[in-house]
Amino acid sequence: MVVENALSLASPDILEDLPGLYEETFPAVASFVSKMGGSVDDAKDIFHDAMVIFFEKNIRPDNPGAYILGIAKHLWVRKYHHDKHRVELDNNIVIPEDEKLPISTKLLRLIEISGKTCLELLQAFYYQRLSPERIANVFNYSNAHSATVQKFKCLEKLRNTVKQKSLGYEDFVE
């Protein structure tokens, strides 16, 4: 199925230790941002963006902290292009361009409200990449098979919602 391969996925084990990784890694990014003349808030923003990219890349480098710092440096240079000669970038790290959602925030909000339970389930499968067994446990399904069946129902429901709400599809595009 297309959905299975198209989403960038996060490593669940790393997600589970997110507070530890945060505490361990943020100081290096903060130190970098400080040296570049940024504020604490700049450090937080760049760090959060770097963490999101890191999880979505679904990689497990030997040194996650160094990798996240590498992403943060790329993000800093992207934001403050004039600093590009002051920052040594790791060329092995490629940061993605952000995709623009092809629907309006209004429609998205409607979908979030009307289909929250399904979105929770789908993001657990596709974004957090939890196993069906784990999802069955978290969402109180009797077994992994039930969770998987519900996942496909939710995908269908979301497709139908988008289709229905987007009858005048172009009207919803911002």
């Binding site: 943020f26 903060a30 604490v40 959060h48 999101v52 995709e99 629907i103 993001q123 596709y126």
Partner: protein, 50 residues
């Protein structure tokens, strides 16, 4: 931009997962900067910006 229904659904799920992750990061940050147990961490960071 023409986007297929499947792609739109994928992006919505990704957007939602990302939003949850960002909320979790915010919560961890808030905790690190307000929890008395983490005062040395907070001070260490703030010293960098003095």
């Amino acid at each position: 931009m023409k986007t297929s229904l499947n792609e739109t659904v994928l992006l919505i799920v990704k957007y939602y997962g990302r939003k949850k992750l960002r909320a979790r990061l915010e919560s961890i940050h808030e905790n690190l900067f307000t929890d008395p147990v983490k005062i040395s961490f907070r001070e260490r960071i703030l010293r960098m910006f003095q």
